[in-house]
């Protein structure tokens, strides 16, 4: 599904050029739940942004679902982001003046899904993250954990092939973190591929695979038996 080979990303800011990613090769298969770990400044976010087609890279190749993304136009990239990738950001990035439902419908607006269908699918996605009863709240009327669940609903509403989360629980307490991880595990169980950046080992423990970075270099790539949280319905 995701296939990168010898990716390099170099930042040139005034002085020494900085190699944020140094010949990184990685392949992620469908249905995987992968953590990307490493100290601050090791290039985790840089990799994530490249995988999410938000940023360009200097050399190497990136194939997403078999297509080479190098040389695609900005609007082609926007189209792929819309259909294939769901983003969950550390700071939620919800639209302040829209209610919960409208936020979740936004990717479907860009996908030109008809209004009625949009509402149906957004409601389903919100029910999946346990917010079926908050559809018409404004985003400043709900808690941080609820905001992140709205963001997850928004990320999955267009049924992307991969969900990308950069420190999704960085702004949340441990109880809420568990809720989010439980949702991720449930989604993964249903077949969603997830890539998650984190620097907390407790978080990485919930994933099947951990990739370690240091100074832009991929250091370690391990599979593990993930710690499981009991899904809400089982409670």
């Amino acid at each position: 599904m995701i296939e990168i080979t010898d990716i390099e990303k170099i930042y040139r800011m005034g002085g020494e050029p900085l190699k944020a990613l140094d010949k990184v090769s990685l392949s992620i298969k469908e249905g995987e739940f992968t953590s990307i770990m490493g100290p601050s400044g090791s290039g985790k976010s840089t990799l994530m942004n490249i995988l999410g087609l938000l940023d360009r890279f200097d050399s190497g190749t990136y194939k997403l679902n078999g297509t080479d993304v190098t040389g695609l136009s900005d609007s082609e990239l926007a189209g792929i982001r819309n259909k294939e990738i769901g983003f969950v950001f550390q700071s939620f990035n919800l639209m302040a003046r829209m209610n919960v439902l409208e936020n979740v419908m936004l990717p479907l607006v860009y996908a030109k899904v008809p209004a009625k269908e949009r509402k149906k699918r957004a409601t389903e996605a919100l029910e999946k993250v346990g917010l079926g009863n908050r559809l018409y709240h404004l985003t400043n009327e709900i808690s941080g954990g609820q905001k992140q669940r709205v963001a997850i609903a928004r990320a999955i509403v267009n049924k992307p092939s991969v969900l990308m989360a950069d420190e999704p629980t960085g702004n949340l307490d441990s109880k809420t973190t568990e809720d989010i991880m439980r949702i991720f595990q449930d989604l993964n169980k249903e077949g969603t591929t997830i890539v998650m950046v984190t620097h907390e080992p407790e978080m990485a423990a919930y994933t099947k695979r951990i990739v370690y970075f240091r100074d832009g270099v991929l250091q370690k790539d391990e599979n593990q038996e993930p710690k499981t949280l009991m899904s809400k319905e089982a409670n």
Binding site: L54, S75, N93, R97
Partner: protein, 406 residues
């Protein structure tokens, strides 16, 4: 694309900063309000003036003859006869001349304003065409024989004789050192009735009218006619008859193309009034234009601020799949709607303003569908023109830079 969504988003963001949006619109509001008010009052004034002019002289031509090189018989009595005979559309034609003299019936000298012309004068002048009270107007026979007859207004009759039924009385009048004894044949209603008391009665002039032929026979210094008044049957005959009259006179006096004869009518006078009005309208329109320009720059400024404030929002939208053109349209819609709301507030204000101003000027404001459409088109134009740069700036943001923006 996404017209409905963009419309809602634009309204949301405009109303999220009500005060800021309103202040931004102010320039446009003022500009559009003045444009609408100017158009409405200007059109109203034009209609009013046209109506007044048509009432006054929709079918009147006044002909003047001036020759800087030569004085003399520029228009003769014979010319008038020829004109009357050869142009069917002429209803009335008369010399349009006045002179002044002194009347000294009761020893005390009084100033008299004497109009003289053909018997048609009774239908053509302002002062001496009011209704007859006594006797008759001077007629064709009086005119042909240059009879010493006069028509006097009732105020004059009162002043001279202390009564109105003065037909048959004689008035001694001195005009340019020539004495004439004129027999009164008719009395018309005086025009000073409404000025009673405003002047000493003895200061008011007497008004009288008499045949041109009598005047030209008695006064050797009156040679020829240089002002003629003509009435045609309808307004659309004014132009062709004016041209015909001038051509005939030029041919008869061997003066083709010498620009001696000038036919004036209300259409030309109206043109002149229109010119002054247009000058005024253009001036205020320029001021309104500047207000709109300032308003437009205000829109651009606030849109640039908005783009900067919403950089992360733009980044998020791009991450969710918004293309460059989608973002462009979104921000362009916002500036258009901002300007359009300003335009509509301006329109309302302008209509109110024009009603007030027109009320004060005692005219009816004229607001046409055309001027409303013009205003709406123009304010959206301002939105596009001044919104395109900020919108492009938003659309061309790199998604990751936008998302990282603090």
């Amino acid at each position: 694309m996404f017209i409905k969504e963009n419309f809602k988003m634009a309204l949301d963001s405009i109303f999220a900063n009500k005060m800021r949006s309103f202040l931004t619109m102010l320039g446009i509001i003022i500009g559009i309000a003045s444009v609408i008010a100017i158009l409405a009052v200007g059109n109203g004034a034009t209609e009013e003036i046209t109506a007044t002019f048509s009432e006054l002289g929709a079918t009147t031509i006044s002909l003047d003859a001036t020759d800087p090189e030569q004085s003399g018989d520029l228009i003769t009595n014979e010319d008038l006869t020829i004109l009357r005979q050869s142009i069917d559309e002429i209803n009335y034609i008369s010399p349009n001349e006045t002179t002044s003299g002194t009347v000294s019936n009761d020893g005390e000298a009084r100033v008299a304003v004497v109009s003289y012309g053909t018997p048609d004068l009774q239908y053509l002048t302002q002062t001496m065409s009011s209704s007859l009270i006594e006797g008759r107007y001077f007629n064709e026979a009086d005119y042909a024989d240059a009879q010493d007859v006069v028509v006097i207004d009732s105020d004059g009759a009162e002043a001279l004789f202390g009564r109105v039924d003065v037909v048959g009385e004689t008035i001694r009048i001195t005009v340019q050192q020539q004495q004439m004894n004129l027999r009164v044949v008719g009395v018309v209603e005086g025009s000073f009735g409404n000025l009673q008391g405003a002047f000493e009665e003895s200061e008011l002039p007497l008004f009288m009218a008499m045949p041109y032929t009598t005047v030209s026979n008695t006064l050797p210094q009156v040679d020829g006619i240089d002002s003629v008044i003509i009435e045609v049957q309808s307004t659309d005959q004014i132009e062709p008859v004016s041209q015909q009259v001038v051509r005939i006179l030029e041919l008869r006096h061997d003066a083709v193309g010498e620009n001696i004869y000038n036919a004036q009518n209300f259409l030309q006078a109206l043109d002149q009034v229109d010119n002054v009005l247009n000058l005024f309208i253009n001036f205020i329109a320029a001021v309104a234009g500047i207000a709109l320009l300032v308003g437009g720059i205000g829109v651009m400024n606030i849109m640039l601020v908005s783009v900067t404030e919403r950089t992360r929002e733009i980044g998020t939208r791009k991450a969710l799949g918004a293309t460059t053109s989608v973002i462009l349209v979104q921000f362009l819609m916002e500036s258009i709607i901002l300007s359009l709301i300003g335009g509509m507030i301006g329109l309302t204000l302008g209509i109110l303003l024009s009603t007030l101003v027109a009320g004060a000027l005692n005219i009816t404001p004229v607001i046409t569908l055309g001027s409303v459409l013009l205003v709406l088109l123009f304010s959206s134009g301002v939105g596009v023109f001044f919104g395109i740069y900020p919108a492009r700036k938003a659309a061309n943001l790199n998604p990751i830079d936008a998302l990282r923006y603090e």
